[in-house]
Symmetry: C2
Subunit: 441 residues, 2 copies
Amino acid sequence: MTTMPDLVATRDMEALNDWLASASPLEVADELARLDPADRAIPFRLLPKDRALEVFEALDPIHQQELLEGLREASVRQLFEDMDPDDRARLVDEMPAKVAKRLLAGLSPHERALTATLLGYPENSAGRVMSPEVVNLRANQSVADALARLRRIGKSAETIYGLPVTDDKRRLVGALGLRDLVLADPETKIGELMDREVYSGRVDEDQEAVARLMQEADLLALPIVDAEGRLVGVVTVDDAMEVLEKEQTEDVARAGGAEPLGRPYLATSILQLARSRVIWLVVFLAAGAVTVNVLAIFEATLATAVALAFFVPLVIGTAGNTGAQSATTVTRALAVGEVRMADLLPVVVRESLAGLFLGVVLAAIAFGPIVLFADVGIAVVVSITLIIACTMASILGSSLPLVAKRIGVDPAVMSVPLITALIDAAGLVVYFMVAGLVLGL
Amino acid sequence: MTTMPDLVATRDMEALNDWLASASPLEVADELARLDPADRAIPFRLLPKDRALEVFEALDPIHQQELLEGLREASVRQLFEDMDPDDRARLVDEMPAKVAKRLLAGLSPHERALTATLLGYPENSAGRVMSPEVVNLRANQSVADALARLRRIGKSAETIYGLPVTDDKRRLVGALGLRDLVLADPETKIGELMDREVYSGRVDEDQEAVARLMQEADLLALPIVDAEGRLVGVVTVDDAMEVLEKEQTEDVARAGGAEPLGRPYLATSILQLARSRVIWLVVFLAAGAVTVNVLAIFEATLATAVALAFFVPLVIGTAGNTGAQSATTVTRALAVGEVRMADLLPVVVRESLAGLFLGVVLAAIAFGPIVLFADVGIAVVVSITLIIACTMASILGSSLPLVAKRIGVDPAVMSVPLITALIDAAGLVVYFMVAGLVLGL
């Protein structure tokens, strides 16, 4: 099968046109991202105008920016003007300031004002992802009036599925779904129909909190208000899903001991990949230096019983895995809101009991083989160490993410590698102390 | 501040009523889940009927089931009848077969048929999360007719925001958003207005694939068709978000070396926690046994240079972390669709270069301190090992998730602990071989 990149490479414009006509905007965006940046403008220019915007909006900000660089000035301005204000604000954020300034200057005054407002809110705040183009209803309007108003001005709004109701000071007093509006009797007043118990977000609130509220309450749109409770915009469910996915990608990266890339994997250079990881590796290396010192302290013990050294990776590896399991479970439960700070004590108690139980099971499984491989003394040492180290690892692994959250650090930063590094050192101390006691070394 | 559990414990019904009136359904559900199961029926019975359903639907299936056990038969039936068919199917799945059967028997024939259909589709298929209650339009209808039809039958539909258009054989021919319908001229025909390029899912397709398509294409509802292309239901964006969150929780658990719990953290017993982890720990223990054997093989080398043993945790820990970073990044890129199977070669090349680069940086940082701590010989051995082991770890860490995907295993199962266990053993072999060559042992 000939792929789109092949068609571009051979400059087979006719076949390329056919492919573009048959593919969905999502497929086109996907294939564009895989093309050499210099070649992306070729298929893009072949797209009809309305499809071009759809494809453009389906691209990541990074790819959008790269594509803009390959387009002629006039088409760049047109695309930019046609984008939604919140998508435009996100793109501007990623651009070099000079390019962004030139592009913003080319916008109509109305669109420029919308974008500038969004850019004025702090990074990661709800203000940055909301759309200021929101249609609000009034409580004393009739359903028929509201529908007429929607037909008049609804086209330019980001969404009309969730409709906030405001008073004459633009303060949020209720909300109504388009569905209820459409299904209602035209004579009914909005005030009788609307939901007075309305969820809303603050413009300076964290994006993730707003997105998670929308997910839990199954909302298609969330009204955003300022400090005085006045309606300033709306966050839509597709933007909320994007926020959650970005947060999750960040959490996953941190749990794996790397800084988030902030761009799609294949659009990241090898140097950027390495840079996202090197800081954490150096931290782990420093933590690893502690294990070197611990082992050096017990040099005499090691020299008398070399067989002890055989089990070092096994013991610290098993304890590390147990700690990682606790840390992963607790971090995730925190992220999705199943566990809160107030649950610290019960969580740590549960985890330490689970760790103790697992340690006993693993010790029982390992005991026999170690007796055969080495001797009873070593088997006793390894088994006791496994029980103590697994319990300790579960306590550390479950408490550190909660402690991180309390001191305001992303719990995912208390990453699995950091926790295992701590447990490596602590586990070694336990191992040699147990060996000293049991073997009388 | 008095919390809801306090009010329940002291049986302060008046204060409890006040609290229930002021809290959102989401808050009530959250606090209910934190109550002792036996006490949950008390506040629940105080809720007005329509709010009770909202609260019930905001609970997890596990908590729903526990709550049903505490309610009187009549209210159980009522609640069950009022639920959406897809939510009901999910709940039935989690119930003991006997209870489920009794409850299903109590449903009206219409609701029972809807639920039974959903239960007939395979687990994790789109059929299980779709709603069969979908309103379809016809191409030759006018906008006014369509709106009239919606007013008539729209109340019972799961969503009317995404409206599939079908032909006379119920085959999907297009789709239309409620927004476009409301904003259009009443005389227009649906056929002129509808989108002919319509995304849809197959009833036997994987839930995650369907949910991800909805997220990428920013869809509020996705029509689901059977093998003949006939419309059978619709998946809504809130169900899609739930599917993605569940998948992500599973991926996170597996990456941390545990089986997914399948229920909220605090609703899981300690024994269930331990059970979800023990299988993987035993696998890791077996993998760890390999390291014991590797070390035993090199016993003579170790006995001659005990200082070599000091750096074992450092070397394998660093290599393990590098491999974990690669594995995490690639697994995530696969999950969100940034990387596909076809990208295997470029991905592994990128990762091995990044690993080589990181190995060189870490070796350079570690060299000086090791010379001071031990001697030049050991420093050379550790540095060379770090470079080789980091490169190797990146190759393994990036290729295993892709290989898992190709052979049809969840890439997250090639979890960080499994990869680090493999790297532990391989890293040790490299370490002692390098030591043998450099130190002439």
